[in-house]
């Protein structure tokens, strides 16, 4: 009788131990899945915010380049007195634009490529290069025009 009781007790304890191990295994698998998806999600978020930040930085650089061109770099100037000159911002001509050194601008802003052109006020045609563009409204040779600055 005692032997039978011992056998029942032994079987129950073995069963309980096995159930615990199975639960643990399931939990480990689930936790691993959660960890995997969690880490993947975090990596995705990181990549996404990194790309977004890089795009914003590029946009700001092009914005700065366009602002410089419209206010100083490519505008008409006139010498008034010795050493002092009047700057006519937003007023561009072919001659004033010819003074712009694109390569210097590109190097200063650490851009791979810079593209500057003029379009009619009605709008610009699509540009082939994959880049971010900024349009500024200016007076080119006295007419309302758009100065387009693109970069990547």
């Amino acid at each position: 009788m005692i032997k039978i009781m011992w056998l029942i007790d032994w079987t129950e304890s073995r069963f309980k131990k096995g159930q615990f191990a199975f639960d643990l295994a399931v939990a480990v698998i689930i936790v691993s899945f959660i960890l995997y998806f969690g880490l993947t999600t975090v990596a995705e978020i990181h990549n996404s915010s990194k790309n977004s930040l890089e795009e914003q930085i590029l946009f700001n650089k092009i914005l700065a380049a366009a602002d410089y061109l419209v206010k100083e770099g490519a505008v008409e100037t006139k010498e008034i007195f010795q050493g002092s000159k009047a700057i006519y911002h937003h007023q561009l001509t072919s001659f004033s634009f010819s003074k712009v050194d694109k390569n210097e601008l590109k190097d200063k802003l650490q851009l791979k490529e810079i593209y500057i052109d003029f379009c009619p006020i009605e709008g610009c045609s699509n540009i082939s290069i994959d880049s971010i563009c900024v349009n500024r409204i200016i007076l080119f040779e006295g007419d309302n025009s758009i100065l387009r600055v693109c970069g990547k």
Binding site: F37, T41, I45, L63, H90, E122, N135, I137
Partner: protein
Amino acid sequence: MKRGLMSFESVFSLAILIIFISSLSILKPNYLDTSLYEYQLLNDILEITEKNSGIERLSNGDITVILEMQEIAQKQGYCLDITLELIDRTIPNMEDEFIIINQTLYIELTFPSLCEERVNKVSTTRTIPAYLGEIIVLEAKMWKQ
């Protein structure tokens, strides 16, 4: 055993919730902050209007200047609301000389754009002296179409 199961479930639910919320932030599109660019564009419109003798035309009552400004903004994909305040503090005296007196002529004109209004707007105000004693206060609001 039951208590352990409960804590496992709560941790599991929390993890699922965190993953769900994180996924939502991935789905959110990344917008470029273009507010500075929009502000510059608005100032460009005002600037070229001033340089194209727009103020003289406005002083002479030619409001087509406003329509031209709105058209330029529209071509760039924006809507433009203009409010003009014309303040004239000069009245000629008997000797046809212009003197500034305390009387003020004040006219406010609003030229709303025909677009649907949006929340994100950029605005600027310019106070421009026109003729003797005449001041034009131009308030412009611009937003994406």
